[in-house]
Amino acid sequence: MKQIFKSIAFIAIATSSVLLSSCDSKKDDPQAITGVSPWKTDQQALASASAAYSPWQRLSSSFSFLIESQTESTISFEGADDQNGPLVSLFKTDVNNWYPTKIFNYLYVSIGEANRTIIKADSSSVSDNLSKETISLARARAKFIRGLGYLYLTQLWGEVPLILTTNPTTSVQTTRRSIDDVYTQIVKDLTEAEVDLPSYDQIRSNPSKGAANAILARAYLSWASNPLSQSQVAAIAAGKTDPTATSWDKTKLQKAADFADKVINSGNYSLESNFENNFGVAAEDRSIEHIFTIHHDGDGIDVQGNHQTHCPFTFRFDLLQDNHIGPADVTLLNLFSDTDKRKRFSILNTLYNQDEPLITTPTKASDYKAYNYSFPVTSPRIGKWIHRSTTYPQVAPGSEAGQLNDINRIEIRYAEVLLIKSEALFYLGQTTDAATVINQLRTRAGVSTYSTLTQDQLESEWNLELFFEQKHWTNLTRWHKLVSKVLTDVPTYEYYKADYKDVASITAKFGAESSATNYPFFAKIYKHLHSKTDNVSGKFYRFPIPKGLSGNDLGITQNPGY
């Protein structure tokens, strides 16, 4: 009996101790903030909307590699010639290239986050800590960035899938929607966003009505050019000729002009009196010309620092190292007249090193050691994203620490709105009015104004004003001039000449190398320039539909020629 009692006691104790440890249901709750958690505060709503903006931080310099480098005007020496950057500039972009892969996929990641925010906004209810206005603002911010994302996607890839929900079907993810469908959605998003966005936001990384209207103007101008369809690109893909001249849609041109006017007439933006005040950290959220920017804090702090600083000024005053991206030729210095006030920030061949003062108390730029970015050592640099001395704009810190990648990327500034308006008016036949608009830029630059405008002048002004601000390739494709520009301009370049073919030919022409010379560098430029003319063809009116972020096939029909 005693034995049985002991047994029961043992079992009872054992069982209860086991059960005690397992009846605490709370421990089953996951320790995570999940997607189904409803917004309870204004901060949560805005944190959700911001998630659609942070993927753009990865793309600031990537846009340079596609939109600048796949043209006649820049070359990339980002690593050996088999690397992604150089391959784009050599017109050897293919489906595996990281830059199109990155931009395409991360724009969709941003769109995915925007979709999530929009749907959550629609299902959120107002409470003490969550106001109706904030819900609307979060939704509007999401719609704005979604519209901007689709604008880049259709400009770079043509027909693209339109994903507007959080749980899209495979069909939605792989079906290429017509260009008109995509633009219709862009206009819808931006128009709806505009309603709930504030008319002005001091923080320019936050979109405002002005930003929405400015991007609407850009979208309408682009749409007005009747972007090439898949079959139109297929027809020219293998050839070395551009499509026939752009046929413009007058209604859409008028819309572009109208939206540009909305920005202009808002009174919230105007041209900086000094062109140079647009650039550098000091301009952030202060320049009256900035309309919308992508925020950057620098490497290791944001998702990816703004390598618009790093890539065009990679090794600073170490002239013998190959820069990541730069002007394709020394003759591009001649794009700007010497009196053009935009020149030294756009393209430079002299810079002073702030870390090497020549005297104890420098009082002028030339009190620092000067470096020449010129033959026979190197070629000019692009100047807009260099962190410069606050006192002397010709002087820049030479250290890594002095060249932080923390300048906000300018997505759109007032000058572009003027150029959009000018182009719209020009193709609407109002060439005099078009000249008047552009003259604002020319006056500020200190160059002669136009009484009327020619197509060349219009196109040239885009390039001079927005040099290396990631407009060039989209402009050339809009004007149907991508191929011809490469084939006509590049052969006129200095380094295209046979003299630069190899070290032997350069030596024969310029004499033997010395320690100060870098002849292999010029032979490499020669090779890149010839590769541009050899390889350019109609297929480069689009980028290849890339793979997914993990190298997976996305199941979307490829663009012609890739």
Binding site: A47, G79, A80, S399
Partner: protein, 1033 residues
């Protein structure tokens, strides 16, 4: 004379002892004359196990030709009476070789029994108990004693290499302290873990490699959670392979179960065992790279001659600087192990401690490890037993800093630079390692952008010497049980176990190192604590009724796992001299600090009935029901049934004396896999910063339908033993179907991360064969051989939408194996007389030139592109095999172990990079044979400066079959040396071991053992020579 130790051994004698033997023979002769007068002589003695000197309980003692006998008591002692001497004593005990001893006088006898390797596994450890091998219905393999004793290894998982059929062990990194990859009967899963479950003295231990990773990145390799076990403390290892054996572990059984039992004290004797070994290791291979002259020639002939070399200068350069050699070293390792064990009839103890200090073959890498262990069992009251098994360890692993495998263009990783080893391979041999003043050279003019800041470049030798990548793990594994015999055959058992693992990772890369250059010096500390609590309650009832015997088990278990982590990373330090110990000096880097916590629970109910009829027809039915918080659908039910038939007990075979054992087994059932993240089913939001504020973006996409991965298995097997069990063999055939496969689907458009979903089925089918043979068994000479071979075929039978999932160079396709590679087929090199117009155009739509590679136009459209890709093989071996042999002669023992794998493929990514020459990095010496007009190679295309195709092609998918002479151990044992001040007999064994001395393989990289199938310059395997001594008494 009577003081002479009078010991009968197992037939082995030693030179030092032979004098005594002559003496005793003389004694026998003298005593013989007296014995005939004696009346009922009582012979007393003790039976001990030969190696451990533990008492053998229950051994049968008989006098030949005389009826009756006796058995040994708890301390191995016995007494038997006889009318007259001399006589012949026969000593038998299950698991030991029989002994016959001539007895001439009635002095106290100490009899040593040697283990009988073939019979040793009479009782095997199974889930929640033990079972007679004879009554087993499942496939349970026991690792042989010789494997445990002679296959010197510092970790228990590596020890299993080549030991058991169907257990494929891949040691993919030579980093000391890194885990091996273990696959039992192929991989069932793609993204849930394929690692087996370990059961260590009853504690369910899942060796989760993420336990020892704190999320800092930048630290290469893994620290093995199994470092808490010292292989010398292991008594036995059983591998449960089929479902009849594993179903009792339900949702954790699908990858097989490895049962590890550590040593326990034995009743009646105290023994001490000490082992010391010292070893020297070096990289088993070096890669062939260009020397300085060859590299300069390459630059001049094919690139723009950036260095500006003249022909004369090129000739003078010679071999230049060997960076590969400079980062490799000879590593020294030392290992001390001490154990003390013993006990009486009420309590037994086993205490051990060990210290390992092992240098790696790469500079500044290695492992230091302390392990302490205590096993204690006590019978408190009759029928009431309690015990503990406690292990505590601290391991400190120094490894390499690494660039994370992230895909962004400015990462050195994207160019194939994974760590300081691969970077050393890349540095042009014209670049000096040191400056003339013996300081490190930080100026490599050829480096482009990846590892350059201004004029400063990285130096991998300096990197290895000055960087910190340290993983310190302190863990505790404790298991307490109390067992009470309620009634005859009815036993209740309570088990409480805990595993607490505390990991700290320290990381520091000064500003002049590869990782520190762009970050201006970076360092961090991370901590992670993982606690597992296990409570189990089981009731067993065993009963024999006539010809029926039952053994019934029921139970309830609860396992709770909780982990939390915290890490901080800073960069840009003012003063780097304190390294990671002064993080406040730097600026916060990225999202830092970073903390989190996850937990999971697993509740289970289990039951098993073992039934045996006539000890001949056996049945096992098992059911386990698990509730896991890692899924949306949380309950899973895992049943199994197993049958076995001991055919040799049937009348028709009883008279066939050659057959000692013949058993047929069949089993079927299902088990599961729950080894995924704790919250993979949820859509989680994670913090990033934008515009100075928090942004919550989607981390894990989530799946609202996630459920168990279930593996349904069938097994048929046969065990046989012939010629007095001198030859035993086991053959098994199995089929496993894993359904609701937990598959990581590549990020869909609009999502950033891959998501785990239940999508698809995988089938593994295979056969296994193993044989053990005692070829020689003489008094002074024995030779045994064990061999095993396993063939497994892995096939995907269903996928998401049955469409291919192409993920980089890998493809998942119905009809193919997991881990298949996908790419173009290399078809030789275009030669001068080829009609190029007939060849397919290149991916860039150009016509190939002589010297260009040719690819198969599998789509036959005259053009090479991604559509021409085909499956190029997979990482799955066609078969794996092992062979070991133990040879003993007098005091010598020789153990040889071979391990092999056939038909598995590896993507040699490092070779692909090294065979793509450019003007910045060194290249493979293979390019010296590149195609030129005068050297029409058909394997290596002409050298160009741009890749002709960026798609993977079959050149770099290499056959990684190998046969490796893994271990050769030679030992010599001096036995029964009497210490000066003690009468304790001492056994001293001296041994030498060589590991990885020879590998036959066609694989061109460092080592064919690449578990994940992609080789980007993993830590090379070491070739090791070790000598040591083992003293026991």
């Amino acid at each position: 004379m009577a003081n002479l130790p009078f010991i009968f051994g197992s037939g082995k004698t030693f030179p030092a002892y032979s004098v005594r033997k002559i003496g005793s023979t003389f004694l026998f002769a003298v005593l013989f004359t007296f014995s005939s007068f004696a009346q009922l002589v009582e012979i007393k003695g003790k039976v001990l196990e030969e190696n451990t000197k533990a008492p053998v309980i229950g051994a049968t003692i008989r006098l030949k030709k005389i009826q009756g006998g006796t058995i040994t008591s708890y301390d191995g002692s016995f007494s038997i009476k006889t009318k007259s001497l001399p006589g012949t004593l026969s000593v038998t005990s299950t698991g030991y070789k029989n002994q016959e001893i001539e007895v001439y006088e009635n002095e106290f006898l100490t009899i040593y029994l040697a283990e009988d390797i073939n019979k040793l596994s009479e009782v095997v450890v199974i889930g929640y108990g033990t079972q007679k091998r004879k009554e087993l219905t499942g496939s349970v393999a026991t690792v042989s004693k010789s494997h445990l004793e002679y296959n010197v290894s510092s970790s228990v998982d590596a020890l299993l290499g080549g030991a058991v059929a169907g257990v494929n062990v891949t040691q993919s990194s030579g980093q000391p302290g890194s885990p091996a990859s273990i696959r039992i009967r192929g991989g069932n899963s793609i993204n849930a873990s394929n690692d087996p479950l370990y059961v260590i003295d009853g504690f369910l231990f899942f060796s989760n490699k993420s336990t020892t990773k704190v999320g800092l990145g930048a630290i290469e390799g893994e620290s093995n959670p199994l470092n808490l076990l010292n292989p010398s403390d292991i008594e036995s290892i059983e591998v449960l392979k089929d479902v009849s054996a594993t179903a009792i572990y339900g949702s954790r059984g699908s990858n097989g179960v490895i049962m590890i039992t550590t040593k326990k004290g034995k009743k009646g004797i105290n023994s001490v065992n000490y082992q010391y070994s010292i070893g020297w290791s070096e990289s088993s291979k070096k890669l062939g790279l260009m020397n300085a002259s060859q590299w300069a020639r390459l630059q001049k002939d094919y690139f723009l001659n950036k260095p500006g070399y003249t022909d004369a200068e090129i000739n003078q350069l010679g071999t230049g600087y060997d960076w590969q050699n400079a980062v490799l070293q000879t590593g020294v390792s030392q290992n001390h192990s001490l154990s003390i064990s013993g006990g009486d009839d009420k309590s037994q103890y086993f205490i051990s401690g060990s210290y390992l200090n092992q240098d790696g073959v790469i500079l500044n890498s290695g492992l230091k490890r302390f392990i302490g262990k205590l096993n204690y069992d006590k019978e408190v009251l009759p029928g009431f037993k309690i015990g503990v098994a406690l292990t505590g360890n601290k391991s400190t692993q120094n490894s390499l800093t690494t660039f994370e495998g992230v895909n962004y263009n400015s990462s050195p990783y994207s160019k194939g630079i994974a760590n300081s080893l691969t970077y050393a391979l890349y540095i042009p041999p014209v670049v000096p390692i040191y400056n003339s003043d013996n300081t490190y050279n930080y100026s490599n003019p050829y480096e482009y952008a990846y590892l350059r800041e201004g004029s400063k470049t990285a130096n991998p030798v300096s990197d290895l010497k000055n960087s910190t990548a340290q993983t310190i793990n302190t863990s505790f594994l404790g298991n307490f049980y109390a067992q009470y015999k309620i009634a005859d055959g009815l036993i209740a058992k309570l088990n409480f176990g805990s595993n607490i693992s505390q990991t700290t990772q320290n990381y520091f890369s000064p500003r002049y190192t590869a990782i520190g250059l762009s970050t201006i010096g970076i360092g961090g500390i991370g901590n992670k604590k993982v606690e597992v609590l296990l409570s189990e309650f089981t009731l067993t009832y065993a009963k024999q009724i006539g010809i029926h015997s039952f053994d019934i088990l029921t139970g309830f278990t609860d396992q709770e796992t909780k982990s939390n982590y915290l890490s901080t990373i800073c960069s840009n330090f003012t003063d780097e001299s304190l390294g990671y110990n002064n993080l406040q000096d730097g600026d916060p880097y990225g999202i830092t600090p970073y903390s989190g916590s996850t937990n999971s629970s697993l509740y289970s109910m289990l039951g098993r009935i073992n039934y045996s009829l006539l000890k001949r027809y056996n049945l096992t039915t098992t059911i386990r029901s698990d509730y896991s918080t890692r899924f949306v659908h949380r309950w899973g039910l895992f049943p199994s049934i197993g049958l076995s038939w001991n055919i040799n007990d049937e009348g028709f075979l009883k008279d066939v004396s050659a057959i000692d054992n013949l058993k047929l087994r069949v089993s079927g059932g299902s088990v599961g896999n729950q080894e995924i993240g704790d919250i993979d089913y949820l859509q989680t939001l994670v913090v990033v910063k934008y515009n100075g504020k928090t942004a919550y973006k989607v981390g894990n996409t989530g799946d609202p339908n996630m459920k168990w991965e279930t593996t349904t298995q069938y097994n048929i097997g046969m065990d046989a033993g012939i010629f007095n069990n001198r030859i035993t063999a086991t053959v098994d055939a199995y089929s496993k179907k894993t359904s609701d496969l937990l598959l990581l689907i590549p990020a869909k458009l609009g999502e950033e991360n891959k998501q785990l979903v239940n999508a698809g089925n995988v089938v593994n089918k295979g056969v296994e064969f193993s044989v053990n043979a005692i070829l020689l068994e003489k008094k002074k000479l024995s030779w045994s051989v064990a061999a095993n071979i396993a063939k497994n075929k892995n096939e995907i039978t269903k996928l998401n939408n049955d469409g291919d999932i192409i993920d980089g160079v890998n493809i998942l396709r119905v009809g193919e194996s997991l881990g298949s590679f996908y790419g173009l087929v290399f078809d030789g090199v275009v030669q001068k007389n080829d009609d190029v117009s007939k060849l397919p155009t290149t991916p860039a739509y150009t016509v190939p030139k002589p010297g260009d590679p040719k690819f198969k136009d599998t789509k036959n459209d005259g053009h090479i592109d991604a559509n021409d890709r085909v499956v190029l093989g997979s990482i799955q071996p066609k078969f794996t095999y092992g062979l070991s042999s133990t040879f003993k002669y007098k005091g010598f023992d020789l153990f040889v172990l071979l391990q092999g794998s056939q038909g598995n493929k590896v993507y040699n990514l490092l070779r692909r990079y090294l065979e793509s020459p450019n003007d910045a990095y060194n290249a493979s010496a293979a390019l010296l044979n590149a195609w030129t007009e005068s050297n029409p190679s058909n394997t290596i295309p002409r050298i160009t400066d741009s890749p002709l195709s960026s798609e993977l092609d079959s050149r770099y998918i290499e056959d990684a079959s190998y046969l490796r002479l893994k271990t050769v151990t030679l030992g010599y044992t001096l036995r029964r040396i009497t210490l000066v001040n003690s009468r304790l007999p001492l056994k001293l064994r001296l041994f030498a071991t060589v590991q990885n001395i020879l590998t036959l393989t066609g694989y061109k990289g460092y080592d064919p053992e690449v578990a994940k199938g992609v080789d980007l310059g993993s830590y090379p395997m070491a070739r090791t020579l070790m000598v040591g001594a083992n003293i026991s008494f």
